[in-house]
């Protein structure tokens, strides 16, 4: 019971904080909108940055889709999305994107007698469960991966997100990468046509349903697993190694990513190589206009991002996010220098 109460309370507190933040915002504040997944860390950074510089941040955590819409419509200085836009979409709207923070998505279960980290699954089996092909926890495919575990004959109750979400994008992109059938039948997106299961709204909705349904399996952000002590699964990664979900495993997946050769930073970090890589890792992105209407505002926003890259790593780690590695930050700031211009055509970032 405590899990969902906590989760609900948390979401209510965040909601209340967000609604309080809106009317209090002043003209001088940096304005942004988008993904809910990085909201806790953005809020923490903003708080620390306000103390340091006196400039506040007004961030509406309305979801990645909403963030993309608002930056295209020019109603905010930056948008935030957990799913990267493809380079051609960026060019069409005169946008650039860059990674801001990294996190992981974790499958969680509720099976009687199974403790956190006791059960291991591989990608194809996970995909088959979400396709509705593996129906019961004592299925031979699951038994083969867990010869020692005592698996009950309980029916598997699949739980997924009902709202469009960057979390779902990362999760489905992993399932699509490991299962051709998933890719063909269901596809990869922020919301898909799920073949089976029930939908919960937000991470807290999924956490709630999994917590109260015997035999349930769902997927949530890492912070949720840790804060609510949920029963997480281990996964077999691309190198065939079994890994625990933890910050170092997300870091390992991010370290192997080749940002320098990804045009527009279009890079999905799921199913990366490396013995320690967690297979469902993803970055959350910031979107800005190349030639912003209000160059001064974007300048302020860049200062905030720069400050966060350099001074925000500890705050991010406290909240179980993985900061962007230093070489990638240098790469990003070079992109700012090269492609962002003010009204007079002069570079915005020096």
């Amino acid at each position: 019971m405590s899990i969902f109460q906590k989760a609900t309370l948390r979401s209510m507190v965040i909601g209340a904080a967000a609604s309080l933040a809106l009317p209090a915002a002043m003209a001088a504040d940096i304005s942004g909108a988008g993904a809910t997944f990085p909201y806790p860390v953005y809020a923490k950074w903003a708080d620390a940055y306000k103390t340091a510089s006196g400039v506040g941040l007004n961030y509406q955590s309305i979801g990645s889709g909403g963030g993309i819409k608002q930056i295209k419509a020019n109603t905010v200085t930056f948008g935030a999305s957990d799913a990267p836009l493809e380079p051609k979409d960026l060019d069409a709207d005169g946008l650039i994107q860059f990674p801001m923070i990294i996190g992981g998505v974790i499958p969680v279960v509720n099976i009687k007698g199974i403790k956190p980290g006791e059960l291991t699954l591989d990608g194809p089996t996970l995909a088959d469960i979400f396709l509705g092909k593996v129906k019961s926890w004592d299925d031979p495919a699951i038994k083969k991966l867990n010869p020692k575990a005592k698996l009950p004959a309980t029916l598997i109750a699949v739980v997924h997100r009902s709202d469009g979400s960057g979390t779902t994008f990362l999760y489905t992109s992993y399932l699509g990468a490991v299962s051709p059938e998933w890719k063909e039948k269901v596809g990869v997106d922020k919301a898909v046509e799920w073949p089976t299961g029930i939908g919960g709204k937000g991470n807290e909705g999924v956490a709630g349903f999994v917590g109260q349904t015997d035999g349930a399996i769902g997927y949530v952000e890492y912070a949720y697993v840790k804060q609510n002590k949920m029963t997480y699964l281990k996964l077999v990664n691309k190198d065939g190694k079994t890994v625990d979900p933890q910050a170092s495993a997300f870091q390992a997946a991010a370290a192997n990513a080749d940002w320098a050769h990804a045009p527009g930073y279009y890079l999905v970090l799921t199913n990366q190589a490396g013995a320690e890589s967690w297979p469902i890792t993803g970055a959350s992105f910031i979107l800005v206009h190349k030639k912003p209407v209000d160059a001064a505002a974007l300048g302020e926003a860049l200062k905030f991002f720069d400050w966060s890259y350099k001074n925000g790593t500890k705050l991010a780690e406290e909240l179980d996010y993985v900061p962007i590695p230093k070489p990638v930050v240098e790469l990003v700031e070079k992109t700012w220098k090269d492609s962002l211009q003010d009204g007079a055509g002069l570079p915005l970032w020096k």
Binding site: S162, T172, V186, D189, I198, G200, K201, G208, Q212, T213
Partner: protein, 299 residues
């Protein structure tokens, strides 16, 4: 005075017209792309941008139907008890309790439904229903599958509780308008309480009762938050009432913020238009029914 009131009345009409125009305009891309297929297709796939509204329409109608099936008899029962049978000392507390029920925000019903009602239904009621109806041909498929605790059935129950205060307070008020002389003469003829209610109170007040029921139905059709919490949010039509489904308003609430792509947004707006049309049809139907009843009473 006349100008002020007229302006107020015209403003309402303008607002209504504006909403309709905005809904129609917003849903044009979806209808142009899918045509009538939008109404008859069950699949809802944001990845491939193929949308059909049948599952939310089905969910909206079925949950409201369940709500009415439970809500109407219980509400009428409470109203009859309060007006005909209740000791004077209990009348006030019960009436106040019902009115308080109407004042609870729907999100509270949602949270209660998710954390209290759904686990209870999952642990006790649904396994019982599945076992009870297993040997009965049609009912066995209506009550089958794993007991999730949430789904169409649970949403219907939550809705029935939510419409209860509306129907009850309206019907109680109209029951009280029945002239005592009518009731007393019926009792004088030796009628039982049941006969008085059936033959005197209900015929005298049928217009008001139907009005109260329609008010409740209107609320059930459009209710969003509480339903979103407990319906399971799956764009599927299942034979079983215990399976997850979705309603029009729940689908819009869940997906609107993250809907990128014009077709996706337009399909959600089209869902809103459909809800508008369904509500309109239901209310118009109620009006027609009332007119016919009045005509029959007149002849």
């Amino acid at each position: 005075m006349r100008i002020a009131t007229r302006t107020a009345a015209i403003t309402v009409l303008l607002l209504l017209g504006g909403v309709i125009i905005a809904l129609i305009q917003g849903s044009i891309p979806a209808f142009r792309e899918f045509g009538w297929g939008f109404l008859t297709a069950e699949h809802w796939n944001p990845a491939t941008e193929k949308f059909g509204a049948l599952a939310p329409i089905y969910g909206t109608l079925v949950t409201s139907f369940i709500a009415m099936l439970i809500g109407i008899p219980v509400s009428l029962g409470i109203a009859i008890f309060i007006t005909e049978l209740c000791p004077r000392s209990l009348k006030r507390p019960i009436s106040t309790a019902i009115e308080l029920l109407a004042g609870i925000p729907s999100i509270i019903y949602g949270i209660w439904g998710l954390f209290v009602l759904a686990p209870f239904l999952q642990a006790y009621v649904q396994p019982f229903l599945i076992a009870l109806f297993a040997p009965v041909p049609v009912l066995s498929s209506l009550f089958s599958g794993p007991p999730y605790g949430i789904g169409i059935f649970t949403a219907g129950i939550i809705l029935s509780i939510m419409v209860l205060p509306y129907i009850t307070s309206v019907t109680r008020d109209v029951f009280e308008t029945v002239p005592p002389v009518l009731k007393e003469s019926a009792y004088g003829l030796g009628c039982t309480t049941w006969e008085v209610v059936r033959k005197v109170v209900l015929p005298y007040t049928q217009t008001g009762v139907i009005g109260g029921v329609m008010l409740g139905l209107g609320r059930a059709l459009g209710e969003t938050m509480a339903v979103t919490f407990v319906i399971g949010n799956a764009h599927r039509i299942s034979a079983s009432l215990l399976a997850p489904g979705t309603t029009i308003s729940a689908a819009i609430a869940n997906e609107f913020t993250e809907a990128d792509g014009d077709l996706y947004t337009s399909s959600l707006i089209a869902l809103g238009l459909l809800l508008f049309v369904i509500t309109f049809i239901v209310l118009a139907g109620a009006r027609l029914l009332l007119l016919r009843l009045q005509k029959r009473a007149g002849t």
